[in-house]
């Protein structure tokens, strides 16, 4: 591949955003001030991580990017010594995160890493199940600590107990300390996030590569089907909503829940019924931990959990009740999925003609099946359970700063980077301790207003798919399995850049997620709360789906998402429901309008807008 993408240093600053770099950590922008670093940056491939970030970064929300940048890389480079691969480097351009896999250039060094890798990774694979059990305990402790945190306003004066018990420390100090602990827990959680994930992806890459050797061109979705199919935790919240719907019908209170009332009003009314109380007790049981599920991906502070907004699960329960009373089946046909998985694996294996090929197939499949529970379930612990609680706590802090007059809106805090929030807290606290006005009240509103303008301009900019120089070979497991960076993706990006987009104005190219073709009216939903608007047979267009969206799959004819690959939630669920899905369109929710007549091809990933809504 001789052609190069645009040099990362040549990307123009959007007029009116000059100086945007200060919104992010200083090492994130591409820079020419060190010739060695600049040459390295030009020689690498940098691709836009649209899989995780369909929007530009709020400065504070970059915390997860920093956290995974460190954690993923450390495991490749310093823990397992993946022989040919070091970490994944990160940069930010006009608010969008670009990442780049780093290889080990020296063949001798690769050779030296081999026995170390075999010993270290070998230990984890041999003890996978017990280590994983231990992991769940560790994560449980981290989450308990986080849940126990509580941020409150600084008091006018310290409580008398501080005096009488001789505590000797102040609320300002405690606030700063707790803030540090909160950030620290977030980083710790992401350390654990990657404890198994690199090896899990290495195992999947092994199975994918072996599968492709044996059956050239076999879709990753098919390989996933062969290795998946157990009962992932991510489906548990949905299962709870179905259980609660069935229980409501059984108790005869389904007509109460069906009333067009908000969750809190419904709960008040249910309190009045004897059976209603019984049902509410079951609801409470389901809420912890299963309602710690994000209405989005968990990556952004704007997303909430079911526990933050009970209207979301209540609406889903209402839909479930309606569907059940129409006599339709809901839920995952787990037995059928398992049967299908075994049939597919068996039929593929039967095509192999030599012992060596059969062994390779069995070894690869065995690895993939070993690691898949972790690969799918860690997401619930980290991105859903931990993150939604984390955002709850940061919202407490942002409200404290808002009440102190630092921000017009509580949400403004997220335009500050992590270290700036600590500085703002310090400023607020020293103002409080000295009894004078802090500088923050005059400094931040103006600064945030400017940053909001910059952010808006970032939003209107389209980040190029890739920058820099494509490598000869990619060895980094995540880059291959998660982002799907291969010859053909790079080629299509290159040609897209050349012809200014290979698709016509009424066409949007995404990735195939689930097979089949559907045609129908589009329903563009930005928030899961809008699910009630969905009509039978419509095609759902959204940024991404999570278990919160589960009730919609009995209604829709197909789904189109901005974000995701063949292993994302929407693709997995739609394959199970037999619905066509196109994932990772990038801008589907912006280009398609509710009411547009669209055709989607889940086999080719092409979405065509046939007729615009009147």
């Amino acid at each position: 591949m001789a052609k190069k993408f645009m040099d990362p240093h040549d990307v123009a600053t959007i007029p009116g955003t000059e100086g945007w770099e200060k919104m992010y950590p200083y090492q994130y922008p591409f820079s020419k001030d060190d010739p060695e670093r600049a040459a390295y940056e030009s020689s690498q491939i940098w691709f836009y991580d649209g899989l995780h970030y369909p929007i530009p970064h709020y400065p504070f929300d970059l915390i997860w990017d920093e956290a995974w940048s460190m954690a993923l890389s450390q495991y490749n480079t310093r823990h397992w010594l993946i022989p040919p691969a070091l970490g994944i480097d990160h940069r930010i351009v006009n608010g969008y995160v670009y990442i780049s896999p780093v290889g080990v250039p020296d063949p001798e060094e690769i050779g030296r890493r081999v026995p170390l890798f075999m010993e270290r990774a070998g230990f984890y694979f041999q003890n996978w199940d017990s280590l994983y059990e231990n992991w769940k305990k560790k994560m449980g402790l981290v989450i308990d600590k986080l849940a126990a945190m509580n941020f409150t306003d600084l008091p006018v004066m310290e409580d008398i107990s501080i005096i009488k018990e001789g505590i000797g420390i102040g609320s300002g100090y405690k606030l700063l300390k707790q803030w540090d602990e909160l950030i620290d827990l977030g980083l710790l959680c992401w350390q654990y996030h990657f404890e198994f994930l690199n090896l899990a992806y290495a195992a999947q890459v092994t199975f994918f590569a072996t599968g492709d050797q044996l059956f050239p061109g076999i879709p990753i979705a098919t390989l996933v089907k062969m290795s998946a199919g157990f009962d992932p935790i991510l489906f548990k919240p949905d299962a709870e909503l179905i259980r609660l719907a069935k229980f409501a019908i059984q108790l005869g209170i389904d007509d109460v829940i069906a009333k067009p009332l908000k969750a809190d009003e419904l709960m008040k009314e249910l309190e009045q019924h004897a059976t209603g109380k019984e049902w509410l007790a079951e609801l409470e049981k389901a809420r912890y931990p299963w309602f710690h599920i994000s209405t989005g991906t968990g990556w952004f502070h704007t997303e909430t959990s079911w526990n933050d907004n009970l209207n979301v699960p209540f609406n889903a329960i209402k839909t479930n009740i309606k569907t059940l009373k129409e006599g339709k089946e809901i839920g995952r046909p787990t037995a059928q999925i398992l049967e299908e998985r075994d049939r597919i694996a068996h039929e593929y294996r039967a095509l192999l003609k030599t012992d060596a090929d059969r062994d390779a197939f069995d070894q690869g499949l065995g690895l993939a099946r070993l690691v898949l529970p972790y690969a799918e379930d860690h997401n619930f612990y980290v991105e859903h359970w931990f993150h939604t609680l984390f955002w709850q706590k940061t919202h407490q802090v942002s409200k404290i700063l808002q009440r102190a007059g630092f921000f017009e809106n509580a949400e403004d805090m997220y335009y500050l980077k992590r270290d700036e929030i600590k500085a703002a807290l310090w400023d607020m606290i020293t103002g409080w301790t000295t009894g004078v006005k802090s500088r923050g009240q005059s400094y931040w509103p103006k600064e945030v207003a400017w940053r909001k303008g910059v952010y808006q301009k970032f939003k209107e900019w389209t980040p190029p798919a890739a920058l820099g120089t494509p490598p000869d070979v990619v060895t980094e497991p995540f880059t291959i399995a998660l982002w799907g960076i291969t010859n053909s993706t790079l080629t299509s990006w290159l040609s897209g850049g050349e012809e200014g987009g290979a698709t016509a104005a009424n066409e949007i190219q995404g990735s195939p997620g689930s097979s089949g073709v559907a045609e129908g009216k589009a329903r563009v939903l930005k928030e899961v709360e809008e699910l009630a608007d969905l009509q039978q047979g419509e095609i759902l267009v959204c940024k991404t789906t999570s278990p919160s969206w589960a009730p919609c799959f009995v209604t829709i004819a197909g789904a189109i998402t901005d974000v995701g690959g063949p292993m994302c939630h929407a693709a997995i669920v739609c394959r199970e429901y037999g619905l066509p899905t196109v994932v990772g369109t990038g801008k589907g929710t912006q280009l398609i309008k509710t009411g547009d007549l669209v055709r989607m091809d889940g086999d080719t990933g092409l979405v065509t807008i046939l007729e615009r809504a009147k």
Partner: protein, 354 residues
């Protein structure tokens, strides 16, 4: 209903392999394919018994039998040619008895009801003994009169000079009754070729379909760049679809059996010629054919414009795949002693980008 042996016609769906002595091998094979669930063009067989009764009832049987009797292994080309001329004239010029003609036409009229009046059919010879390519097949036959005329022509083709020479050489009788197959002419909106493997690398987990508009001629003879569909044999999901240019198509000239080329309209070139449900149905049927014969197969198909889905998917011809079936089986992977070794190997290899 009469016993099978006494009937003049038999539906394809009534036939099986062992009926070859009643209707000829080609017809019996079609019955066998149908039984296995392989969709073929709808139609019926005119039995060997019908041919025999035709000769008896018209009183020409003895005349024909005596032309070369007993069989003569040394028969000269001249003698065979002379006998051919007389026999063929006798068979073609006799008046078909109503008892036989009415039965054939009544079967034909059932087809016309389903697929349109004067439904075009083929008349294909089908002998109980193999005589590859010795006898005639007539295409695009429409209407009662032509059908009867061409059934007689088909019967008479058993007496063309080559067929006579062949039989004499084998020591067979001069008199030779054959069956005829009367399938609907497939009005191919789209047709093409299927391999039940990936013909490029021999990968058995794929089904490859090449398809273009009109008759199969365009694809078989490489007159067009067809659409290519690579299908996963196990899940039946498409893996790769390459749209072909499909500039021209072959069609039958109006009311004739010769083929002409016409341009494919621009808007039809730009879209895939097969719908996804047709692709899946073709893949499903191909898998069935491979399972039935137990090896990779090469299949010709047509999508009939007169018939609704899924019955419009019609298999025209099948034969064993000839390239990969003959190759020696080699492992595609190196043997590794355990999964860690396998993983190390794959990690070191990575994904080549160049």
């Amino acid at each position: 209903m009469l016993e099978k042996e006494k009937r003049f016609t038999l539906g394809y769906d009534e036939l099986e392999g062992k009926d070859f002595n009643l209707v000829g091998k080609k017809n019996a094979n079609l019955g066998e394919m149908l039984k296995a669930g392989i969709p073929i063009s709808p139609g019926f067989a005119v039995t060997i018994h019908a041919n025999d009764q035709y000769l008896i009832m018209t009183g020409i049987k003895e005349q024909i039998r005596k032309l070369i009797d007993p069989p003569d292994k040394q028969v000269s080309f001249e003698t065979a040619k002379e006998a051919s001329k007389i026999a063929m004239e006798l068979v073609e010029n006799a008046e078909i008895p109503a008892a036989i003609g009415d039965v054939i036409l009544s079967e034909y009229h059932k087809m016309c009801e389903k697929y349109g009046s004067a439904c075009p059919v083929a008349v294909r010879s089908s002998g109980a003994a193999s005589m590859p390519g010795q006898m005639e097949t007539y295409l695009n036959i429409c209407g009662d009169k032509d059908l009867i005329d061409y059934v007689k022509k088909c019967w008479s083709s058993a007496y063309n000079t080559e067929a006579i020479m062949y039989r004499m050489n084998k020591g067979m009788e001069f008199l030779f009754n054959i069956g005829a197959g009367i399938p609907k002419m497939v009005n191919s909106r789209v047709s093409g070729i299927i391999f039940t493997l990936n013909p490029i690398n021999g990968d058995m987990s794929k089904i490859s379909i090449d398809a273009s508009y009109g008759l199969g001629e365009a694809v078989v003879s490489g007159l067009v760049t067809p659409d290519t569909y690579l299908i996963d044999k196990i899940t039946l999901d498409p893996i790769k679809i390459i749209k072909g240019s499909k500039e021209i198509q072959c069609v039958y000239r109006e009311n004739a059996s010769d083929i002409v080329q016409t341009d494919v309209p621009e808007e039809k070139r730009r879209v895939n010629c097969l719908s996804m449900e047709e692709v899946r149905e073709l893949a499903r049927v191909s898998k069935l054919i491979e399972k039935y014969y137990g090896t990779a197969y090469d299949i010709e198909f047509g999508i009939d414009a007169d018939i609704p889905f899924p019955q419009n998917v019609i298999i025209l011809q099948v034969r064993p795949e000839s390239v990969w079936n003959k190759k020696e089986v080699v492992s595609k992977t190196e043997g590794k002693k355990d999964p860690m070794e396998l993983m190390l190997g794959q990690l070191l290899a990575g994904v080549k980008i160049k």
